[in-house]
Symmetry: C2
Subunit: 390 residues, 2 copies
Amino acid sequence: MSVTAASGFAAAGVVAGLKSSGKRDLAIVQNLGPLQAAAAVFTTNRCKANPVLWSEQVIGDGIVSAIVLNSGGANCYTGARGFQTTHETAEAVAERLEVSGGDVLVCSTGLIGEQLDLDLLKAGVWDATLAITTDSGVSEAAGLAAAEAIMTTDTRAKQARMSSPEGWTVGGMAKGAGMLAPGLATMLVVITTDAVLNSEQLDTALRAATRVTFDRLDSDGCMSTNDTVALLGSGASGVEPAAEAFADALTSVCRDLAEQLQADAEGASHDIAIEVVNAASEDDAVEVGRAVSRSNLFKAAIFGNDPNWGRVLAAVGTTSAEFDPYGIDVAINGVQVCSAGEPDQPRDLVDLAPRAVHVLIDLHAGPATATILTNDLTHDYVHENSAYAS
Amino acid sequence: MSVTAASGFAAAGVVAGLKSSGKRDLAIVQNLGPLQAAAAVFTTNRCKANPVLWSEQVIGDGIVSAIVLNSGGANCYTGARGFQTTHETAEAVAERLEVSGGDVLVCSTGLIGEQLDLDLLKAGVWDATLAITTDSGVSEAAGLAAAEAIMTTDTRAKQARMSSPEGWTVGGMAKGAGMLAPGLATMLVVITTDAVLNSEQLDTALRAATRVTFDRLDSDGCMSTNDTVALLGSGASGVEPAAEAFADALTSVCRDLAEQLQADAEGASHDIAIEVVNAASEDDAVEVGRAVSRSNLFKAAIFGNDPNWGRVLAAVGTTSAEFDPYGIDVAINGVQVCSAGEPDQPRDLVDLAPRAVHVLIDLHAGPATATILTNDLTHDYVHENSAYAS
């Protein structure tokens, strides 16, 4: 169960023919109401894809009736014709679902710089809306089909849900495998809830949740042009949630999906959590964790099961965070390899055979902490990303 | 010919036993005068190795009598004992060459977090100073031996020279293969000249030359803890050069060495020049070129001979440079693949079989330009850097 876990939502995932593999490549999620409240956050990349430019307008009034997502093409750097393709896709959905085109979000993912086939998109929209308007659109299977339709190099569909004893639910789906970097990681995420909340409340909760989840996932340092996280509220549960309880549930669903993205990152053989503690500020902790997560040398060492902690410190030293360079401790998987700038326990004691790797960096500079999630740099990453367009 | 090309310098490279391979691993370059003017620039990494901390003190008065360099260990994050090792190495050189220990620069390269063997270092210093004080110390062979002794994963020694019709010479040697990133690339460089210049003049010329050469080489985005570029002036030619002529010659030697570093970068199969033109400022041009040079996705695509220009724009979009996201042109190896944010020539026309790759990014925002040199991201890079410590 994902986007259809909350009541008041229907979904579909169909084969439009945009992917050469012949797999599902177009999804629609419809908000059946009674509310049509929504919030969304988008990539901070200045080179934004056409669907992002479109959706930033749509979200302006906080009302979203449906969202249509395609894999098989990013529709980015495709000029006026590309924007027209996004617009007409939204209008096609609107006509079939009898809503306003201005209330339809559009998301695309795939190769940059290639036009999408509008005829294929329209036929896919027809099929998806046909499926969605039948009873099957609110089923678990429909949610799964939608989650499958947004996959690119993902090896599995990503879904999460969390239900409150108060009687409301948050559910979500995500895609993302390469180009996973902060603000946001490269990904499309749709989260639905039947809690009774207006668009301002959704927006506040969404920004708070993404800040500590998706924005702290940095698989390969590359920021996408198409990232979108949308949160749709139907109000169908009739229950107004406690603000904190909803924030917790939303953050939990976002974290679950972020960890699924990390676990399925292209070619990765280790999931690395870089925990920075005793930083002067949360920004410092994030900056330090981010710098380590972007060190190709560190990431290649982890791939080779080599606890090369000097590469951690070399990355820390490139930041402007507050610390004494010779007052830093580093532990890897529980072994204190560096204390106050000197070798401590032998590096041979570190076991990097497990997929999960924990790097603990103690800056001894203050009370703040943050954890950045990343992956190792592997032969498979290089292979997958050198063959992407071919 | 490298550091011994200019008159007034002697050099040696010997086997001290620091490298398990049994290859040369300790070099000394001595300034025989009459001047002992010097300048140096160091890594901007805040986590600096002990030899950098030492050498920053030595260079303070602009007088350097000799420089001792070792491979086989970075002597970084080795605590008070590591600093003592650096200090005693300098004193050992000073005693043998009858100069002051406070006028001996020290450079080290290799693994971080391991102590160097001081006895091996001292024996190596003995051998090197013995060689250097014979006639052979000023020979071409001596310069080559020194250049070989500083190699780590370098596959070849890197030397350059430039002689002026005015009668003075600039020569240099460099090492660097991984951890090549700006401010500076990871490397040790020693440049010598017999032109008559004081330390202030050398400093000005060195900073100007490194800014547009070594600082624009960004092979893998990782900044080292040990980078040092030293320029020693003997004045032995007796000729005071025209400032501009010397600046040109020095920049030329630095560029030659930087290009040799790029050509020998770990595991690389393409040398990529990212030229940013019509930027609002030189800083903007450098920021944009640097962002592209750090995109693993772009670099993996080039490895796969895939002219995936969308990944260029996705990287450009992460910068704060002035530009209209839909007013950018991109050409790869002479093929205009993107014009004003739309696909132009078919990407299939781009031939990426040659090792040299030229990416031209036109920001249409002003008069400034800069070129960043980088490499592709390959299986061999991952392999070499996952096996480094083993």
